[in-house]
Symmetry: C2
Subunit: 345 residues, 2 copies
């Protein structure tokens, strides 16, 4: 292992089946390129201009209720619709299929000025409950095989409204990443009789070097094959295939794990840390999928400071993703941070 902390190498991601190039010697190159705005506007607890705040009117004329914890509605600009044609078109190398689905928005809190990192664990637990209810409600539709729950946090991640919220895109077919993870978990399960991610977690817990946090139900770690500079994964300690299999206690444990990692993220560069995060869990296609272990991925772009991100561009898009610091270095940095939010108290 040690030779790899200073020298270029590649690591294999057994979930996606892809490689990441790691160039640890490169971390010190100077940065003369684009820097992002470190926007920290003073925010109101309730913003009369925000279409996600309680009681306000959305673009389609609907009025939000005076919600007190979470609030779910159908996306006013949905990428997927329920009435899409189901036809398949195939002509030589051209192949297309109608794709139907349901897109929803979930407000995490009526407070316009909060984020997961600054919400009490008990309130994050209500978000977890809402995700579980949505996963079940959407997954039950016969034409929905996959429910993608995610959050784009921060303007840098294409989020157009700072009000804390996430999205769900539920679709008839399995998206690329879900299809890869299903295939790789299935092959491992058939060969070893254990779920891939349960075996992986045991290994990481024994080693300890990439673990950031654990409670009774969940573990947060930097995966060995992390792509984004401070990428992390949230894994359950027992074999949970999808959200609704969590006990009450495990939902609270998950909420606590999400709180801990998002606080560390904000503390890293003393900023409201941008990321995309989301859950992968078993498809809702009616099969058992015993190979599946639900988990969350956090994919944050910042590299060196609140304003300098990692660009996934030329080589990354045309070749393989590349990173400068190792997963172990990232884990050390994140582990050393205080557990209390830098704006608290």
């Amino acid at each position: 292992m040690n030779m790899f902390s200073d020298h270029p190498h590649r690591r294999y991601n057994p979930l996606s089946g892809e490689w990441v190039l790691v160039s640890p010697h490169r971390a010190k190159r100077p940065w003369q390129g684009q820097v992002e705005d470190a926007v920290v506007p003073d925010m109101l607890a309730h913003d009369p201009e925000c279409y996600l705040c309680a009681g306000n009117t959305r673009i389609n004329g609907e009025k939000n209720p005076d919600y007190e914890s979470t609030f779910v509605f159908d996306n006013d600009f949905a990428a997927l619709t329920e009435d899409a044609p189901k036809q398949r078109f195939e002509d030589g190398l051209l192949l297309a299929e109608g794709e139907s689905g349901i897109c929803r928005v979930i407000c995490f809190s009526p407070r316009h000025d909060l984020t997961l990192a600054r919400m009490p664990v008990a309130d994050i637990a209500k978000v977890v409950d809402t995700w579980v209810a949505q996963y079940e409600e959407l997954g039950i539709h016969p034409h929905i095989s996959h429910v993608q729950i995610f959050e784009n946090r921060g303007a840098m991640m294409g989020c157009s409204n700072p009000h804390p919220h996430g999205q769900i895109w539920a679709s008839r077919s399995l998206p690329n990443e879900a299809a890869k993870e299903t295939e790789n978990q299935r092959a491992y399960y058939e060969k070893h009789g254990t779920p891939l991610l349960m075996a992986y977690l045991q290994q990481e817990l024994a080693l300890g070097e990439r673990i950031l946090f654990e409670n009774d139900g969940f573990v947060v770690l930097v995966p060995y094959w992390a792509v984004w500079p401070f990428e992390t994964m949230v894994l359950p300690k027992r074999h949970i295939r999808s959200m609704e299999e969590m006990t009450e206690k495990e939902r609270e444990d998950l909420a606590e794990a999400l709180s801990k990692i998002t606080i560390r993220y904000d503390n890293l560069f003393k900023t409201s840390f941008p990321y995309s995060m989301g859950f992968h869990q078993r498809p809702t296609d009616g099969h058992d999928h015993d190979e599946w272990v639900m988990h969350a991925h956090f994919l944050p772009p910042l590299l060196r400071s609140a304003t300098v991100k990692k660009f996934m561009v030329g080589f990354e898009l045309l070749g393989s993703p590349q990173r400068d610091l190792t997963a172990e270095q990232a884990a050390d940095r994140l582990r050393d941070l205080p557990e209390t939010h830098y704006l608290a108290g």
Copy 2:
């Protein structure tokens, strides 16, 4: 086909084996999120502060020659090095391999203030000649199996110096995207006896609706499965596996094709259009690879204007890439633009 111009559908990319979600009905949603700087600083023809300009000194103390067309040097902050250890590390689900390689920078012109879009075709032809020479020189190394030639253009694409330049990352192993394209082209070739991309080009030429430009040697088109809003592909008209197989005339034809597409790009939003571009061609692993057809991909992020880009975030990273306008709509927009650069004359 027609039902797909208004309704959500997914299209298959036979080169990568992945799907893209297309949501044509969504193109009109308002944008309230992050806008990029439309930086158009007045640039000097020679900038004394630029480490790529002729005669200037780079960070490592080396002095650039007084080059007159192109200039190649080893990247001062290389992500790959020649002396990387070759060991393999495997322990349960942790798998890593030493990765060696060579990273180079290619200045396209001594003129600090130009881009491919504003260079004469004859000068772009010199860049093509340099790429060919580099592909051959690097590919010949027994420990180099793949030569990735690319350009990150513009600050939005992580480019830290506006001086026109590209990069080469040559590596011992095949990057993810090259491995997928090799596998899919090989399977098609074994089944049909024709290279996949030659068959695809015939289909596109017969249909015409996604073609932007053609000359004797090359075609520029919007691929049926384009991911980025104005993504294009440059394909040779005959079966050329890698660059060095081009005739003199074909090199000029390629230079002309690159000039035409980059001019259209700049004209689209009257800005110096950002993109990552690069060539895929047969691996330099000593095998024949008759399945391979060399081609270039242009992957530009802008969506609506010089300052509003497409964000590849939550659903894209965790599920599948998603686009709003169809490939046909993008082709129409690009085809309608003038062939002369908006700043010319």
